[in-house]
């Protein structure tokens, strides 16, 4: 298997990809063996932040981590569709999370796939997560950008918002509801039991 097809395991595998984020990916000229070698370890297609945020305290109050999982559920995604969404976000001056796999191949100023990785545009993967962090009050603006670009893609994406609880409540839900945005009744909750481990 040769480049650009070797990009696929990074965005279609379950786990084992995080170590590769921390190494020099050595893209674009990589063999399949190189990719597999780099996948030793653990991880997923996104990052571990939400699962360990109570330990790391990486998410300040007032900020929201946004994950746009392209291609899910069920469909998969071509990088050309990823680029449509990421470039729309960049036009609105949204900063991408540098620790995220996908950010490695995106030009942060334009949101387009970097010139040296353009070969991947016609590659299809199970999903690709675009990640960014914005202040609480800008979430609705990002939502509006995403709603507009959604009509231009030939797949789907699912939108996730991570934010801190305050006094056992989720303030973001009320802000979203005020703007007519509904939130699903299920999701993930970090119970905060990791807080005491190093303190």
């Amino acid at each position: 298997m040769s480049w650009p097809r070797t990009i696929r395991p990074l965005f279609s595998g379950a786990g084992r990809t995080l170590v590769s984020i921390n190494k020099d990916l050595k893209l674009p000229k990589r063999s399949f063996e190189d990719v597999m070698e780099d996948q030793k370890g653990l991880g997923g297609r996104g990052t571990t932040d939400m699962k360990t945020v109570d330990l790391t305290e990486n998410l300040p109050y007032g900020m929201v981590d946004i994950s746009i999982e392209m291609g899910r559920p069920a469909l998969g995604v071509y990088f050309r569709d990823v680029e449509k969404v990421s470039s729309s976000l960049a036009q609105n001056e949204i900063d991408f999370d540098p620790s995220n796999n996908l950010t490695k191949i995106i030009d942060p100023s334009t949101g387009r796939i970097k010139k040296e990785y353009k070969d991947v545009l016609d590659e299809k993967v199970l999903s690709a997560v675009i990640r960014c962090r914005v202040p609480f009050e800008e979430v609705v603006d990002v939502y509006d950008v995403l709603e507009k670009v959604a009509s231009k893609i030939d797949t789907v994406f699912t939108l996730f918002l991570v934010n801190r609880c305050v006094d056992g409540k989720i303030p973001l839900i009320h802000t979203l509801k005020d703007h007519g945005i509904e939130v699903r009744e299920n999701g993930k909750t970090n119970l905060g039991l990791g807080r005491s481990i190093f303190s």
Partner: protein
Amino acid sequence: MTHSGHRLGNRASLLGDWVILARMPYDYPPEIQRKMKTLVRICARHNPVCISSYDKDGKVIRYMAGWEGRQVSAVHISSSIEDVANDPILQHHAVYTNKEDVLNVVKEIKEAELGIPIVVAGLFDEVFDICEKIETEPHTVNLCVGTFGNLKLLPEPHILELVTMCGHGRVSSNLARHLIDKIKKREMTPKEAAIELGKQCTCNILNPIRAEKIISDATS
């Protein structure tokens, strides 16, 4: 980060679907591994329908309720709950079918003062109720705001409910349809189909009991 947040279904169905995730940062101190083992043993005591652990090299050991030896295939190998509980781990997942078990698990974890980050995927109001009962304050939530784009391409709702139980989207809609066809031809039972789907979810969070119910409803 999205993972178990994709799960779709109505409230009644989601009441039978709970995922507990425990994960240490990569640079965690080695002595924490002992605590992780304690945590897995707690999870193993409260009727998990799936339980798995990963080591630092990415090796996974998994148990799924109803997965019989004859259904083991080359890359998908079942283990016992005891095997999982004894494995060295960095990351751990467990799936439960009722709130009571989840409450008992997190209560014990809190009492053990392990200090390991715990994430529960489920209905928010129920999870927050559990937090209140064990007297802890939820730290962070991951909200799903919905799916956008060309929604006409999505599979049927019952297929979506099945495939979104895999945290990485590795359960194929076509496989789900194929297995449902086999059940209609009486070549397979809903339970066997549920296990076959669960095997594809290598991080082992596809709830086989819920899957069997969804499949049974779709084929009856």
